[in-house]
Amino acid sequence: MNQINPLEVEDLLRTFTGEEIYVHSEATSYVFVRNFKMKLTQAFTAGEGPFRIALRFDEIGWLRMEALTHYELDAEGRLLLAGYDDRGRMNVALHLGKEPFAE
């Protein structure tokens, strides 16, 4: 995982817009949703680090997360974003893939 570069992340998010995608999203201690399928219409990034990201989907949907610090485009072409604290613990995650994530 690399420190978020917002311009690069925006470019990567753009490659998922207009498509049916699968999302894994979590606020680690409280909630996770895996293989949420959506038609992504728009993606936004904001902040100067840690970063905020918001997804518009299916005309009426919002998914917004904050506290994101790291990202990676993995070998399977999935965009993995995560927010870690200063001791390596994950607070939040937002993963986008064009195929379902392992169940």
Binding site: D74, R78, L80, A82, Y84, R87, G88, M90, H95
Partner: protein
């Protein structure tokens, strides 16, 4: 007397339960020739600790923790390892009937002399309680007379009266000679223990954190018939 080695079956929820909670006991029995089979319901893939500094993400965690558990099993002498492939944090939502059946299948196949699992109320995590409850049900389904024990954290059961148990209901295993193996297993679970500085101190200092005993609640009459310093 049979010449078959004694066998122990441990049914837990996450990689590291076996090391952090009862690693000394597993190492001790493995060293005395007991054949140990460990079942981990999940791969701990929803854990929060991602290494320190972090090198894992949610998608790489399952494989990393599986590998760590394999290494920990080598440190402890656990021979056989199986996963139920249930997603971490969802054991309590798995079909209880199917889960009990799967565990019962393992009990019949392994035919152990003793079973370790979590207490269904004092397990400390929903996955722990769920796998404990399913294991109790599984043993009942087999109808086999096998000693059942519930693992416990640290020295909490040194004075079991505080938890409503008598000394007779507790097995206290002396693990003082197996702290080195336990420490090695802690270190094998690297992504989980990097955050704990004491684990990485020189061996002697790190091992001083471990108690001399691990404690088990006797879970059925077969266990209650046995002594207080042994699981067999």
């Amino acid at each position: 007397m049979s010449t078959e080695p004694r066998k122990l079956l441990a049914v837990f929820a996450h990689p590291d339960d076996e090391s952090f909670i009862c690693g000394g006991t597993l190492a001790k029995y493995a060293d005395s020739g007991v054949e140990i089979t460990l079942v981990s319901a999940t791969r701990g893939e929803m854990g929060r600790r991602m290494g320190n500094p972090p090198y894992l993400n949610r998608e790489t965690m399952a494989a990393a923790r599986e590998q760590e558990l394999r290494e920990a099993c080598e440190c402890l002498g656990v021979k056989h390892l199986h996963f139920f492939d249930i997603r971490d944090k969802t054991v309590e939502f798995a079909d209880p009937d199917q889960l009990a059946d799967r565990i019962a299948g393992f009990i019949r196949e392994v035919n152990p002399d003793a079973i370790l699992t979590f207490h269904e109320k004092w397990g400390g995590h929903p996955d722990h309680c769920a796998i404990g409850k399913a294991t109790i049900e599984a043993l009942a389904r087999t109808g086999l007379a096998i000693a059942l024990y519930f693992i416990s954290f640290g020295d909490s059961l040194a004075y079991p009266e505080a938890y409503g148990y008598t000394q007779e209901e507790i097995a206290r295993i002396d693990v003082s000679r197996y702290k080195k193996a336990k420490l090695a297993a802690f270190r094998a679970h690297r992504c989980q223990t990097e955050i704990d500085e004491w684990v990485w101190l020189p061996d002697r200092q790190a091992m001083s954190r471990f108690g001399d005993h691990e404690y088990f609640i006797k879970g059925n009459k077969e266990a209650l018939k046995l002594g207080k310093a042994d699981l067999f």
